[in-house]
C-alpha cells in the first residue's frame, strides 16, 4: 500500500514533496548511475582483468591521481621533493584546465559586443535595419564549417579556437538579446523619454538593465555550446587543453583519464552555471 502511495505521489501534479524528499530524490539518479557503472565494470573485469574500456574504481583512482598530481608526459618531470601545491599546479589536469579556461573566458569576453549589438538592434531602428537580416542569415551558417577558414585566417593558435566559439555562439546571443530587448514594454521606453532620458539612457539604463538577468540566463544556456566549439577546436589542432588530452588519451584507450576529464569538464560547467545563477540572484533581486 505504501509503495502505491509513493507512486501515486509521483503522478500527482499538486504534490508537495518535503525538503528532505527533494534533497534525497535529487541524488538518486547520480547513485543509480554510479551503481550501474560499477556493476558493468565488475562484470567486464571478471571476464578480462586487464579491461581498459570500463576502468575499475581502482584504475580510475590511479588515473585521477596521476592527472591531478603528475605533470603531462610532454612536460619536464617535477623533482621528488616538490610540495603538494607544486604538484597540483604543475599537474596535467591543472595545465589543461588553465589552457582551456583561458580560451573559454576570452570567448566569453568577446561575446560582450554581441550582447550590445543585439541590444542596439532592438532599440535603434536604423541599427535593426542594418544588421537584423544579416545576422539572421549568419546564424544559419554552421560554425564548424568555418573552422578551415578560421585556421587559414588566424593560424592554428588559440585565436582560431576562440573565434570559433565566438562565431558559433554570437549570433544566437545577439538574436536572444534582440528578442529580450524587443519584449520590454513600449510604455517603459516612452516613460523613460518623458523623464528626460537620452537615447543611451533608454538603451543602457532602462532596457539593458531590465533584460540583464535574462541575458545572463541566456549566457548560462550557451555555456555548453561554447564548450562544444572549444572542444571541437582543441580536438582538431592543439597542444594542450582538456579536449586535447581527451583526444590523446583516446589513442591509448586511456579511459581512466578520459572519464575523470569528462566529469571534470561537467563539474566546471556546472559550477560556472551555479555561480552565474547565484550572481544573477544577488545582483538582480527584483527579477
Amino acid at each position: 500500500m505504501a509503495s502505491i502511495a509513493v507512486v501515486g505521489q509521483f503522478a500527482d501534479i499538486q504534490g508537495r514533496p518535503r525538503r528532505l524528499w527533494t534533497q534525497s530524490l535529487s541524488w538518486v539518479l547520480f547513485l543509480v548511475g554510479i551503481f550501474i557503472y560499477t556493476q558493468f565494470s565488475i562484470v567486464r573485469h571478471k571476464e578480462n582483468p586487464e579491461d581498459r574500456v570500463v576502468p575499475s574504481v581502482s584504475q580510475l583512482y590511479h588515473g585521477i591521481r596521476s592527472a591531478v598530481l603528475e605533470p603531462a608526459e610532454e612536460d619536464d618531470p617535477l623533482d621528488d621533493n616538490a610540495t603538494l601545491a607544486q604538484r597540483l599546479t604543475h599537474s596535467m589536469l591543472a595545465k589543461d584546465t588553465m589552457s582551456s579556461a583561458g580560451r573559454f573566458f576570452a570567448a566569453i569576453l568577446l561575446l560582450i559586443p554581441a550582447i550590445l549589438i543585439g541590444l542596439h538592434m532592438a532599440v535603434f531602428p536604423y541599427a535593426e535595419a542594418l544588421c537584423l537580416r544579416f545576422i539572421l542569415f549568419f546564424d544559419k551558417i554552421v560554425a564548424l564549417s568555418l573552422l578551415p577558414i578560421l585556421f587559414i585566417a588566424f593560424g592554428i593558435g588559440d585565436w582560431a579556437k576562440v573565434m570559433l566559439m565566438v562565431i558559433g555562439v554570437a549570433p544566437t546571443l545577439m538574436l536572444d538579446t534582440y528578442n529580450l530587448a524587443k519584449a520590454v514594454p513600449r510604455e517603459q521606453v516612452v516613460k523613460a523619454f518623458t523623464l528626460k532620458s537620452s537615447n543611451l539612457d533608454v538603451a543602457y539604463r532602462v532596457v539593458l538593465k531590465q533584460i540583464l538577468p535574462q541575458i545572463i540566463n541566456s549566457v548560462r544556456l550557451n555555456l555548453k555550446p561554447l564548450a562544444l566549439f572549444l572542444f571541437a577546436g582543441e580536438m582538431i589542432v592543439s597542444s594542450d587543453g582538456l579536449a586535447y588530452r581527451i583526444g590523446i588519451m583516446r589513442r591509448h584507450m586511456g579511459m581512466d583519464i578520459i572519464i575523470p576529464y569528462i566529469l571534470w569538464v561537467a563539474v566546471l560547467l556546472f559550477g560556472l552555471d551555479a555561480l552565474l545563477k547565484f550572481a544573477n540572484r544577488r545582483l538582480h533581486p527584483w527579477a
Partner: protein, 315 residues
Amino acid sequence: MGLAARVIESEESSESTAAPALVAAPVEIALRDVSVSYPVGKGKSKTVLSKLNVEIRAGEFVAVLGETGCGKSTLLRMVLGQEFPTTGAIHVDGKLVTRIDARCGYVPQKYSLFPDRTMMQNVMYGPENAFCGWLGRVLPSYRRFKRQLRAEAEEQLLRMGLRSGDFHKYPHQLSGGMQQRVAIAQALMMKPPVLLMDEAFSALDPATRASLQQQLRTIWQQTRPTVLFVTHNTAEALLLGSRLLVLKPHREGSGESNVLLDMPLPQSSGTIAEREQSREFIELREYVKHKAYGSSSRQTEEAMEQETDESGDSL
C-alpha cells in the same frame, strides 16, 4: 436652474470650449486639422481620427471619453509624440510635437514603473537624468544633490498617500494602486507642463480607484498642471475633469470630426464622494450618457454595461 442644466446650456450656446476662468490662460495643447489613418491591406486605409481641432489651455483637466476604437488613446499618443497625425499638426507648449520628450508626463495603465528600481529610485529617476546626466554622477556635488532629491521624492510619495516603510520596495512587491500612485509621483517629480494619463486607473478596484481619483483631483487643484485624462468611465471623467471631450468612432466617408461633445464641467466644491451623490452630478451623467451613447447601436449599450461591471459603479 440645476447645475447640469446650466452646463448643458453653456455647452450649447458657447463657442468657447474652455472653462471661463481659464479663457485667458495660454493654449498648452493645440490640435489643428488632425487626421489619423492606418493602412489596412492593399491600398486601403482606416481613418481613426478626422478633422480634430482642439485647443487645451494651461491648467485645464480634460477628460477624454468615448467608445472603444474612437481614437482617444491615439489622440493621447499623438500629443505624447509616440505617433504622428497623417495630416494636421499638434503643438504642445507652443512647439510642434515631433518626438517624445519631457514636456509631457505620462502615466500608462500598466508597465508604468521600471521593475529594476525601487519605489524611491523610480521617483528619483527623472530628476537625476535631468540634472546629472551620465557625468554628473561622478561629481562631488552629486551626493548633496541626491540628498535633496531624496527629500523631495519622499515628500511627493507621502503626498500620494504612500508609507515611508515601502519606499525601498520594488514594483512587483507593490499593489496595483500603489504602483499607480508611484507612477503619478514619478511623473509629477519632473513638474511637466502637461500630464497625460491613459486609462491610468482602469485596472484598479473601485475603492482604490476612488481614493486615487480624490488624490489626483487634490493635486490638480493645488498645482494646476494641464491634464489629458483618457478613460472609458463616464463617472470618472465627469468627477475629475474641468472639461469633457467625448469622441465618437469615425464613420468612413462621412468627413465628420470625431468630436461628439466638448464642454466645460462644473467645478463644485466637496469631495468626489460627495459630488458623486449630488443631484447635479446624476443629471449631468445622464445627459452625457444620453448624448454620447443615446442614439448609438445595441453594441454600444452592451459596451456600456460592460463598463459598469468593470468599474463597479452605476452609470
